[in-house]
């Protein structure tokens, strides 16, 4: 589904990704771990099409098509979803209005009519129940005054509403309390199918206890320096990153 080859990227002449390759197939869950500043969020942003970054080499394919030239909204229309590490506030725009606009703009891009209000309402009900979100919450301004955990839960609510092909969760676990972590992880698991894929970026094993990855990758200094199965995460949790860094020299 997603194929990244030899990706090099920089911002303001600072090189961040230095030859990163990654392949994600439908039905798979990949975890990306790695020290602060390694380039994890950068990778997520570049896949989503953030234009501040300059891709200097390599390419990104989604379902066999190069998406390097696509605008972020076009990538979204093609099924890429990013749960942000730091979701932004949009004052005066309710969660409901925002998600409604997102869904209908995506439908419009596909030549479909707006989703009938009735269907929208039904889906909102269903997904907010899945993530145990209070209805009142949906009328609040997007992310304005939300607690760290509420922001993350709301990201996954949007994911549930948009049903993406490829979801990238950038540190969705940070800020979630123990119960919320379970609820959100369960939500993600319920949304999983053999046709979609998830990339989870995280620092901690505890999320991976719930969302069990098929592959774990270590991103260090702009490259994937080690890949393995779920046990790699446990090893990292126990030993930290130093041993990997040492292997590299």
């Amino acid at each position: 589904m997603l194929k990244i080859e030899n990706l090099h990227a920089s911002i303001e002449d600072k090189s961040i990704l230095k030859g990163l390759s990654l392949e994600v197939k439908a039905g798979e869950v990949h975890a990306i771990m790695g020290p602060n500043g390694a380039g994890k969020s950068t990778l997520a942003n570049i896949i989503a099409g953030k234009e501040e970054y300059e891709v200097t080499a390599g390419n990104i394919e989604l379902d066999g098509e190069d998406i390097g030239e696509l605008a972020p909204e076009e990538r979204a229309h093609n099924g890429i979803f990013l749960s942000f590490q730091y979701p932004v506030e949009i004052p005066g725009v309710s969660v409901t209005n925002f998600i409604k606009t997102a869904i209908n703009e995506t439908r419009k891009a596909k030549g479909l009519e707006d989703m009938p209000a009735k269907d929208m309402l039904k889906m909102i009900r269903e997904k907010s129940e899945l993530l145990e979100i209070d209805r009142k919450f949906l009328s609040r301004s997007l992310n304005e005054g939300f607690s760290g955990g509420e922001k993350k839960r709301n990201e996954i609510f949007q994911m549930a509403m948009l049903a993406p092909k490829l979801a990238i969760l950038d540190e969705t676990d940070s800020g979630l309390d123990i119960d919320a972590l379970r609820i959100v992880a369960n939500g993600v698991n319920k949304l999983k199918s053999k046709d979609n894929a998830v990339i989870v970026i995280t620092h901690y094993q505890r999320l991976l206890d719930y969302i069990v990855p098929d592959f774990v990758h270590v991103l260090h200094d702009g490259k994937i320096v080690k890949s393995g199965d779920a046990s790699l995460a446990l090893e990292l949790e126990a030993k930290g990153y130093d041993w990997i860094k040492q292997e590299l020299v």
Partner: protein, 482 residues
């Protein structure tokens, strides 16, 4: 698609053209340019006015001649050449109309293009409309329905004929002829506008609405609106404005007076979309307007305005809270783009006890425009327990525009509580990327963010108007794509 920079964002904002920029080819009768006592008398004669009215105008004219054009506002423009303006222009052969069928088809077409098809409004919106084209009121619908309740809603020129006692009693009592340069000018030369009287205890069953349109070139428009809500009555009044695109600047200097007697309430909403000038800042309407309302005991006046047009706006809808427990509100959205300049705000004058005022101002600036909020909150010595809350928010797009806030607070009574909050924000790349990532393109994202920013004010507009206002916000900011 290439990188969407701030610069491109600005570029895109600049490409928005004015959609009402057509000229209606209706034969009209226009006075020669220039202003002197003869012209004032001629206007009065043309309208068949009683002597008291002519005298009133002449007195205003004499006052005006001695006045200087105000320069304190944060706007820069070439001053109008007052001798180069025609002070009267009316569609020719003004017929007395009883139904819409009798309206000039071309005029009706104009209204359609303005998006205010009269017959549709009549059916759907339940809005009584009075339309002032250039200076003359063309059609007042719904007269009969209103008449049954004793409500008077008609062109002010007709009211001077049919209800001289009412007009004479109230005209100029809230905005005296001597008030300011433009108000004095308006008093001397106004040719039409609307008059509205709601009798005691009557709740006006529909929104009353006036549409103003400047059509002829080289003319000024000076309409005069007077709304009187008698004791315990209620009325919601809407005002919309448009003008065709022209290279020269057109002058619009209106006066609106509101009187809310004991326990009465007036809601006055404006969607102002005068021609703002082109992308280079050429042309556009100078909008120098005086709007003021007087509240008696327990009365309430709410001004709600959405200002997207005009090259230069100078406008401060105000409330004199004379009566005890009276309430004044001002909700405003002012959008400036390209080279537009707006200096707008309000004055809340607290005289009575327990008076309350609320000011919510939302300024949105894009392009090279300048957007200023100027507000005065004055608490008089006898205004025990007066309260004011003011909130001024500015939203900036790009780096070339400016937002300014000039709050003036004068408190002469220690029991007063005055609160002022102000914020300035910018539509950021991060917000846009967040929206883009959810499948919302940049144009739609800007509309969404601006609507969110303006929400508290949009919510105050009557439904039919809110939709129109939202669309207007979008077209004045989005940029025409494709």
């Amino acid at each position: 698609m290439s990188k969407y920079t701030e610069e491109q964002l600005e570029q895109e904002l600049k490409t928005q053209e004015y959609k009402y920029g057509f000229y209606t080819d209706i034969e009209s009768e226009t006075f020669a340019k220039g202003l002197n006592e003869e012209v004032v008398i001629a206007i009065s004669k043309k309208k068949n006015e009683p002597q008291w009215m002519t005298d009133w105008r002449l007195e205003a004219f004499r006052v005006w001649k001695k006045m200087e054009e105000p320069e304190w506002a944060n706007v820069q423009y070439e001053k109008p050449k007052f001798q180069d303006i025609a002070y009267y222009s009316a569609p020719k052969e003004k017929p007395k109309l009883n139904s819409l069928d009798e309206v000039d088809p071309e005029l009706l077409d104009t209204f359609k293009r303005l998006g205010i098809s009269l017959d549709e409004q009549k059916k759907l919106a339940n809005v009584a409309v009075d339309i002032v084209m250039d200076s003359v009121s063309v059609a007042t619908t719904f007269k009969k329905t209103l008449g049954e309740k004793g409500i008077i809603f008609m062109p002010i020129s007709e009211a001077i004929q049919e209800h001289p006692e009412l007009v004479r009693k109230y005209l100029g009592t809230v905005v005296p002829t001597t008030d300011n340069f433009y108000a004095a000018l308006n008093s001397a030369v106004f040719s039409d506008g609307s008059f509205c009287y709601i009798p005691k205890g009557v709740r006006c069953p529909m929104e009353l609405s006036t549409y103003f349109r400047i059509n002829e070139g080289g003319t000024g428009q000076f309409e005069r609106t007077l709304v009187v809500a008698d004791k315990g009555s209620y009325v919601s009044y809407l005002e919309g404005c448009t003008a065709p695109s022209r290279d020269e600047n057109q002058l619009h200097a209106a006066v609106v007076e509101l009187i809310a007697m004991d326990d009465a309430e007036i809601k006055y909403s404006t969607v102002q979309n005068w021609y703002p000038g082109n992308k280079e800042g050429k042309g556009g309407v100078y909008n120098f307007v005086t709007k003021r309302g007087l509240c008696e005991n327990n009365a309430k006046i709410s001004w709600t305005q959405v200002e997207t047009g005009s090259a230069v706006t100078w406008k401060y809808p105000s409330c004199i809270l004379k009566g005890n427990n009276s309430v004044g509100e001002f909700y405003s959205i002012a959008v400036t783009n390209n080279y537009q300049q707006a200096d707008t705000g309000t004055k809340m004058i607290h005289l009575g006890k327990n008076t309350k005022s609320t000011i919510i101002s939302k300024g949105i600036s894009a392009g090279s425009s300048q957007n200023s909020y100027r507000g005065l909150v004055q608490i008089g010595a006898r205004a025990e327990n007066a309260r004011n809350f003011s909130q001024c928010d500015s939203l900036l797009m790009g780096n070339l525009c400016g937002a300014h806030t000039f709050p003036y607070i004068e408190v002469k009574n220690k029991t007063a509580q005055v609160e002022h909050e102000a914020t300035t924000s910018k539509i950021g790349e991060e917000q846009l990327f967040y929206c883009n990532q959810r499948g919302i393109d940049t144009e739609k994202a800007i509309a969404l963010i601006v609507n969110g920013f303006s929400k508290e004010v949009l919510n105050k507009l009557p439904m039919e108007f809110a939709v129109e206002a939202q669309k207007l916000l979008e077209i004045s900011l989005e940029g025409s794509v494709g």
